[in-house]
């Protein structure tokens, strides 16, 4: 039997259609059909100046816009050889990590919802709200920030931000135990996710799966450690990897658990960044008069909450990029679905899909 899941379905996290071939309850083949949200991001980029591309990157992965900005500006800065003031680097890291926590909270909350646990969703959204408040305080927007510019930031931190950020971290850290009690070690949740959709490390690498999904398979690969960009080499943090605590390494529960641990690591990074951040510095000091990278091309990748976010930019020395290609981590994560979900039940497919944490805005671009 062929079953259509989506394009409008609560568990597809956007507009995604899955064509599922089944034999009774057992899935024999999945064909994801994507492109419903295609907005020609790459074509638009060829008609916009380098600065004008930044708001478009916001709209790709709209759950973690700061990280999208970050990847793009780091790539353009490397092309142009701009040295960014230290304060700017620290603020960027703080914003990116706060946004990472917010993104993981959304991923975990909706994952619980997919499985049938309604309460954790409300708890996690309550806390995500506080991060959005912090980001709103900084740049005025709650979802699409356009905060990081090539060579700097749109605004400096507002008065009182550092205190508010510390307040949030103190509030947030104990809450992780609450999530663990509610969802992580919940018997029903474990039954639904442990040993389900096991992704071996070789399969993950071959399919280009990165980020928490790859780490869930037991590979300690994190670009913040492996190829440190910005000031990530100055912070102490661990790379949580899946250990198969309740099941097999690389199952849905491991991917979930890696995200929970990563939030705690991000808290550590934000704390250190707040302490080490220079208190003075002009965030506009290094803004170039004209963003016009020299002829050439660059492939730069950074660690977004979903994995390796790469930008391939080709410049011909004009104020508009000749080509911008975005290598989206969710795109590759979705392509592995068919491989790991074959042989499972239909209800497990939704558990596996949710554990991959895809954002369709980024897949379709």
């Amino acid at each position: 039997m062929v079953l259509n899941i989506g394009p409008q379905h609560p568990s597809t996290h956007g507009v995604l259609r899955l064509k599922v071939k089944t034999d009774g309850e057992i899935v024999s083949e999945i064909t994801p059909i994507i492109g419903y949200l295609h907005r020609c991001f790459e074509k638009h980029c060829e008609n916009l100046s380098y600065e004008q591309v930044i708001p478009y990157t916001d709209r790709c992965d709209y759950i973690a816009s700061m990280n999208n900005n970050f990847g793009y500006v780091v790539a353009v800065e490397e092309m142009m050889g701009i040295e960014v003031p230290e304060r700017v680097e620290f603020i960027r890291v703080i914003m990116a990590e706060l946004n990472r926590i917010a993104s993981h909270l959304l991923a975990l909350g909706t994952y619980g919802l997919d499985i049938g646990a309604f309460t954790p969703f409300l708890y996690m959204f309550r806390d995500r709200e506080r991060i959005l408040d912090l980001l709103e305080m900084t740049c005025g927007a709650r979802l699409l920030y356009n905060y990081m510019w090539v060579g700097g930031l749109s605004h400096d931190l507002p008065v009182g931000f550092v205190e508010a950020a510390y307040d949030f971290l103190d509030y947030f850290e104990p809450k992780v135990k609450e999530y663990n009690d509610l969802l992580t070690y919940n018997k029903i949740f474990i039954e639904r996710t442990a040993d389900i959709g096991v992704m071996p490390a070789e399969v993950a690498i071959n399919y280009g799966v990165t980020g928490p999904n790859l780490r869930g398979s037991g590979v300690a690969w994190d670009l913040r450690k492996a190829e440190p960009y910005s000031v990530y080499d100055r912070f102490e943090f661990n790379i949580p990897v899946g250990q198969g605590i309740v099941g097999t390494v690389g199952d849905c529960w491991d991917r979930y658990w890696v995200r929970v641990q990563e939030m705690l690591e991000s808290v550590k990074i934000v704390r250190q960044a707040l302490q080490q951040m220079p208190s003075e510095g002009d965030v506009h000091a290094a803004l170039p008069k004209k963003v016009r990278p020299p002829k050439g091309s660059i492939y730069k990748r950074t660690e977004s909450p979903r994995g390796d976010l790469g930008y391939y930019i080709i410049s011909t020395g004009k104020p508009v990029p000749y080509r911008v290609k975005m290598r989206s981590p969710a795109f590759t994560a979705l392509s592995v679905l068919d491989e790991i979900a074959r042989g499972w039940m239909i209800s497990d497919v939704l558990a596996i899909l949710g554990s991959l944490d895809i954002v369709l805005g980024e897949i379709d671009r």
């Binding site: 790459e42 074509k43 399919y207």
Partner: protein
């Protein structure tokens, strides 16, 4: 790209390499013909061990010029990188598919095909991925003209030039 990688490749495939690395970066231009063999070699040779294909980018150098495909490879074990560039003829752009070696190339190649019309020979399921199946034309080519309507829906005009 280190000199070692270049030497290993030159010894194995003396005729396929077009151009050596230049000042702008670490890349290698090769001819499309032997690409599948080179890719297998890059993936399987223990000293190279390029197990991860990062990205496939299509480029159009204008209506008078050629198309190009660029592959960014990375090795999780040796932590080295390599960029492969393949220049293709505009009229019959064909390049061997590497989707059997790196499965991630499956969707990447479909995307490049979708946007540029570059045919990856040997691909198991080469069809459009982001655009609808009945779309006409290759949108990321520089000479693409936006259709005025799609199934009776008027397509809003975008600005021609950046101001």
């Amino acid at each position: 790209m280190s000199q070692d990688i270049l030497n290993i490749l030159k010894n194995a495939f003396p005729s396929a390499i077009v151009e050596q690395e230049t000042e702008t970066g670490d890349y290698l231009e090769i001819k499309p013909g032997e690409w599948f063999e080179i890719a297998t070699f890059l993936h399987d040779t223990p000293e190279l061990h390029f197990d991860s294909l990062q990205c496939i980018t299509g480029v159009d150098w204008g209506p008078e010029a050629h198309l190009e495909v660029r592959y960014n490879l990375h090795s999780m074990k040796h932590k080295h990188k390599l960029e492969i560039r393949i220049v293709l003829d505009r009229e019959t752009p064909e390049v061997p598919s590497v989707e059997k070696i790196w499965r991630v190339a499956d969707w990447f190649e479909r995307e490049v095909y979708d946007m540029y019309g570059i045919v990856f020979t040997g691909h198991r399921d080469l069809r459009r991925i982001l655009l609808p199946d009945d779309w006409i034309g290759w949108p990321l080519r520089k000479d693409y003209e936006t259709p005025e309507t799609y199934h009776g829906i008027v397509v809003p005009k975008i600005k021609e030039e950046w101001e």
